[in-house]
C-alpha cells in the first residue's frame, strides 16, 4: 500500500473534504508556517466552502485567512492564540460566527471528548517517512517538539502528514506514528526556518524588564518552593527569560536540583538543564534552535503532548506538578483576573495558550508586567477579557512593586519578610493612575466576535466587536 499522494488538491479529494467540515492544524511552525495557507488555497481552488478551522494557534503568517473568510471558504475558527493582524480583522467583525478560544490544555480535552470534532487533520511534519511516521526534530524546517499535533493525529477522522523532508521507511525516531496516518503529501517547503524558531532568544536589555526579572527570581527564592525537586515554567518573553537566568544563578548558588522545566522551551531552559538545575525538560514546543538541538540530542529533554502538558480531563497533567510559572498580561485587574486575549482597546492580539492551564496548576503563578505600557496602566478595574481567573493568580510583579493575591497571606508575609516591595494591588493601581491619569472607559461594543472557553469547558468571557 502507498500513502503517498502527489498534491494537496489530490489529498483533499481522497480524504473526502466537503463543505461544512472541520480541518485542523498545529502551530509548531509558528510564524514561518506555509502549510495552513497552502491547504486553504487548495481548498479554495476546489471550490469547497464553509470550512471550520481548528488550529492550535494562528499567527500573522496566516493573514491570508482573512480573504478566505471574506470569500466564504472559511466560516469558523477555533484556536488557542491568534496574532494581532488576524485578531484585528476578527475584532472588526470579518467573521460572522464567533471564534472559539480554548486553552492549550482545553483544546486536546475538547478534541478527545468529541466536542471539537476534526474531520481532517493536516499535520505539518519537518520529517516523515512514506507511511507517515513523522517528527519535528529533523529536516530543513525542524521545529523540535510536535506536542500540539498529537490530539489531532489521534482523534481526527482522517490524518494527512505534509512534509518537505521525506526519508526512507522507517523514521525510527518518530513522534507521531504511522498507525494514525492516512496520507502523506510532500511540499517543496513547509515553512520558513527564520519564522519557525528564532536563532537565539535573548534576554531583555530593558532596565525595567530586568528589575521585574530580578523581583521574580527573588520571589521564587523566598517562596518556600525553591528546593530539590523544584519545577518551573516560563515564557519566551524578554523579562521572563531574564528571570530564568537570574533563577539559574540562584539555583546554582544554593545547589538546588529541580525536577523539571516545562515549556515553551528556550535555550535558557536548556542551559539550566545542562547546568544541573533540572533533571528533565518537558517540551510541548521549542522556541529556538538551541531547544531543537537539545530535544534531538538529549534524552532528558522530552517531547510531551498538549494533553500531557495541560489537559484538565487527563488523569493527571504536567501543569498539576508545576511549582512556579511566570506569565505575562496585557491587562490585570484588582481581582487579579488577567487578560492576554486583547489589547487595551479590545482588539484581539493573543489568547490563553497555556496561560490559564499553568496558572490553575502551578503552586505559584506569577504575572510579570510593567505597570505602565504605552501611556496606559496595565492595572485596571476590570479586564476587557478574562483569560485567566484571578483566583488562580498569586502574584503580580511590576517595576514599582509586587502585589500578592489576598488569598495568599502566607506568601505575602514571606515576601515582605524577605524585604521585597510588597504593596496592595489597589495602591499599585493608584500609583499607575497617578502617572497616566484615568482613561475614559471604552464605548459600547458590538456583537460577540469570540467566545473564550476556560480549560474546564465553561465559557469564561466573550469578546465584542470593536468597530463596524
Amino acid at each position: 500500500m502507498s500513502k503517498l499522494v502527489k498534491s494537496l488538491e489530490e489529498v483533499i479529494q481522497l480524504a473526502g473534504l466537503r463543505d461544512g467540515m472541520t480541518i485542523s492544524f498545529h502551530h509548531h511552525l509558528r510564524n514561518g508556517d506555509f502549510v495552513l495557507n497552502a491547504v486553504l488555497e487548495a481548498v479554495a481552488r476546489k471550490g469547497i466552502r464553509d470550512i471550520n478551522i481548528n488550529a492550535s494557534s494562528l499567527f500573522d503568517a496566516h493573514a491570508p485567512l482573512v480573504e478566505h473568510i471574506k470569500n466564504g471558504v472559511v466560516t469558523g475558527l477555533e484556536c488557542s492564540y491568534m496574532g494581532g493582524r488576524l485578531g484585528r480583522a476578527i475584532s472588526q467583525g470579518v467573521l460572522e460566527k464567533p471564534v472559539v478560544f480554548r486553552s492549550h490544555g482545553g483544546r486536546p480535552a475538547a478534541i478527545e471528548s468529541g466536542e471539537a470534532h476534526i474531520d481532517i487533520a493536516f499535520i505539518a511534519a519537518p520529517t516523515a517517512d512514506p507511511m507517515g511516521n513523522c517528527s519535528g526534530k529533523y529536516g530543513p524546517s525542524a521545529c523540535g517538539s510536535l506536542g500540539y499535533a498529537f490530539a489531532d493525529a489521534a482523534h481526527a477522522d482522517k490524518v494527512v502528514v505534509v512534509t518537505d523532508n521525506l526519508v526512507s521507511y522507517p523514521l525510527a525516531d518518530f513522534s507521531i506514528s504511522e498507525t494514525q496516518v492516512d496520507y502523506v503529501v510532500t511540499m517543496d517547503k513547509i515553512g520558513d526556518p527564520a519564522g519557525i524558531v528564532s536563532g537565539t532568544t535573548r534576554i531583555t536589555r530593558d532596565p525595567v524588564g530586568l528589575i521585574m526579572a530580578d523581583y521574580a527570581a527573588r520571589i521564587i527564592r523566598h517562596s518556600g518552593l525553591l528546593k530539590d525537586g523544584f519545577s518551573f515554567q516560563t515564557g519566551a518573553g524578554g523579562a521572563s527569560l531574564a528571570a530564568a537566568k537570574y533563577l539559574k544563578d540562584i539555583m546554582l548558588e544554593e545547589k538546588v536540583t529541580g525536577s523539571f522545566g516545562m515549556g515553551g522551551i528556550t535555550g535558557y531552559l536548556v542551559d539550566m538543564l545542562n547546568a544541573g538545575c533540572f533533571e528533565a525538560l518537558m517540551d510541548v514546543q521549542c522556541f529556538d534552535l538551541d531547544a531543537v538541538e537539545s530535544i534531538r540530542a538529549n534524552p532528558r529533554h522530552r517531547e510531551v503532548t498538549a494533553a500531557h502538558y495541560a489537559s484538565p480531563t487527563a488523569k493527571s497533567a504536567i501543569v498539576n506538578s508545576l511549582d512556579v510559572v511566570i506569565l505575562g498580561a496585557t491587562q490585570i485587574d484588582t481581582d487579579f483576573n488577567v487578560n492576554v486575549h486583547t489589547d487595551s482597546t479590545g482588539n484581539i492580539m493573543g489568547g490563553s495558550g497555556g496561560h490559564s492551564d499553568t496558572a490553575a496548576g502551578a503552586k505559584l503563578s506569577m504575572i510579570i508586567a510593567p505597570l505602565v505600557r504605552a501611556r496606559l496602566s496595565v492595572l485596571v478595574d476590570r479586564v476587557l477579557c478574562i483569560t485567566t481567573p484571578g483566583k488562580t493568580v498569586d502574584v503580580l510583579v511590576t517595576q514599582r512593586g509586587i502585589a500578592v493575591n489576598p488569598t495568599r497571606a502566607e506568601l505575602r508575609n514571606r515576601l515582605k519578610d524577605a524585604g521585597l516591595p510588597v504593596v496592595d494591588i489597589h495602591d499599585l493601581q493608584r500609583l499607575a493612575n497617578g502617572i497616566t491619569g484615568i482613561p475614559a472607559p471604552l464605548s459600547a461594543q458590538g456583537r460577540v466576535v469570540a467566545d473564550v472557553f476556560y480549560r474546564d469547558g465553561s465559557r469564561i468571557d466573550q469578546i465584542r466587536q470593536t468597530s463596524r
Binding site: R205, P207, V208, L210, I211, V372, Q399, R400, G434, I435
Partner: protein, 292 residues
C-alpha cells in the same frame, strides 16, 4: 550618599518615567551632550515636567546643564529646573572659579525670582578639560554651593589628546588630582562612567580602582552598571561589624576614663573612628533607600 550616579537622557520619556527605580542613589538628568541642539527646549520641558509630576523622592536628582557660552542654553536650563528644586546642578566644561561663580550668581537670581531660599540648590561642577583640571581646587572652593566635583574623562582625554582606554592609565593622574582637590576642600568627588555597557567585569574593576583612589562614588551611563557600582562602593558586612566594634570600644574606654584603647591589638586612633562613623552613616543611608 551617592555611590552611583546614573545619567538619563533628558529627551527620553521612557527612561525618565522609570528613572527613580533603577537602583541608582542619584540620577543625572542630562540636558547637555545627550540632547541635540534642536531638541534642547523639548528636553528642558520634559525634564521639568518629570520633576513636577513624577515622584522622584526615592532618588537624588542632579541636572546636567549646558556649558556657559554664547548660546545661553544654560540659563534657560536653570530657568526651567531651579523652580523644581533638584538637589544639584552639574555645570559642564567648568574652567575655573569664576565660571562656577557665574553659574551660582544666576542661580541666586532664579531662586529669588521663585521665592526659593538662596543656596537651596547646590552644585557639582563637571571637570572635563585640562584647564579645569589645573584649577580643580579653586573650583572646589569657588562657591558655598559646591558640594562635590565630578570627573568627565571622555572630553578630558580628547582635550589631553590621548586615547581613552578601558584600563584608564591615561587618566590616572587626573583621578588622583581630582580626589586630592576635593578632599582638600572637604567635599566629595565622583568618578567618570565606564562606557562599555556589556563589560560587567571591566566595570567592577574600574569601580574598584576609583574607590581605591578615594572617590566617593561613580557615574553610570547604563542602568546595567548601577548594581555593580553600588556593590563596590557599599561597605561590606565585615566593615560594618568592625565599625560597630570600634564605636563600642571607644564608648567603653570613655566610660572607664581611659584615653588610648586598642581593638584586636590595634590602636584605635581618630582616623579609625572617623572611618567607622563614615561606614555607619553609609549603612544608615543604604537602609533609608539611598538619599542622604
Amino acid at each position: 550618599m551617592r555611590r552611583s550616579l546614573l545619567f538619563l537622557p533628558g529627551n527620553n520619556p521612557n527612561m525618565l518615567a522609570n528613572g527613580d527605580i533603577l537602583g541608582a542613589d542619584a540620577v543625572i538628568l542630562d540636558l547637555e551632550d545627550a540632547v541635540s541642539p534642536d531638541e534642547k527646549d523639548a528636553a528642558r520641558i520634559l525634564v521639568r515636567n518629570t520633576l513636577r509630576y513624577l515622584d522622584y523622592s526615592r532618588v537624588e536628582v542632579v541636572i546636567r546643564i549646558n556649558p556657559v557660552d554664547e548660546n545661553e542654553f544654560w540659563k534657560r536650563d536653570l530657568d526651567e529646573v531651579i523652580p523644581l528644586k533638584p538637589s544639584l546642578i552639574m555645570p559642564t566644561k567648568v574652567r575655573d572659579a569664576a565660571y562656577v561663580q557665574a553659574v551660582s550668581a544666576y542661580m541666586d537670581e532664579v531662586e529669588e525670582r521663585h521665592g526659593i531660599p538662596r543656596g537651596t540648590v547646590r552644585l557639582v561642577p563637571l571637570i572635563e578639560t585640562a584647564i579645569g583640571l589645573e584649577n580643580a581646587y579653586a573650583i572646589a572652593t569657588a562657591d558655598s554651593r559646591v558640594t562635590s566635583l565630578f570627573l568627565g574623562a571622555e572630553d578630558l582625554t580628547a582635550d589631553l589628546r590621548c586615547a581613552r582606554t578601558k584600563e584608564g592609565s591615561e587618566i590616572f593622574s587626573a583621578r588622583s588630582r581630582m580626589v586630592s582637590a576635593a578632599r582638600a576642600a572637604g567635599i566629595d568627588v565622583y568618578d567618570t562612567p565606564f562606557t562599555d555597557v556589556n563589560d560587567d567585569e571591566g566595570l567592577t574593576r574600574d569601580a574598584r580602582l576609583a574607590k581605591s583612589l578615594g572617590f566617593s562614588g561613580k557615574a553610570a551611563i547604563s542602568p546595567r552598571h548601577v548594581g555593580g557600582i553600588n556593590w563596590v562602593f557599599s561597605p561590606t558586612r565585615q566593615e560594618i561589624d568592625y565599625a560597630y566594634e570600634v564605636l563600642a570600644a571607644i564608648e567603653e574606654a570613655k566610660a572607664q576614663g581611659k584615653g588610648a584603647i586598642s581593638l584586636y591589638g590595634k590602636m584605635i586612633d581618630a582616623p579609625i573612628v572617623a572611618r567607622a562613623r563614615q561606614v555607619l552613616d553609609m549603612e544608615k543611608a543604604m537602609q533609608g533607600g539611598g538619599v542622604k
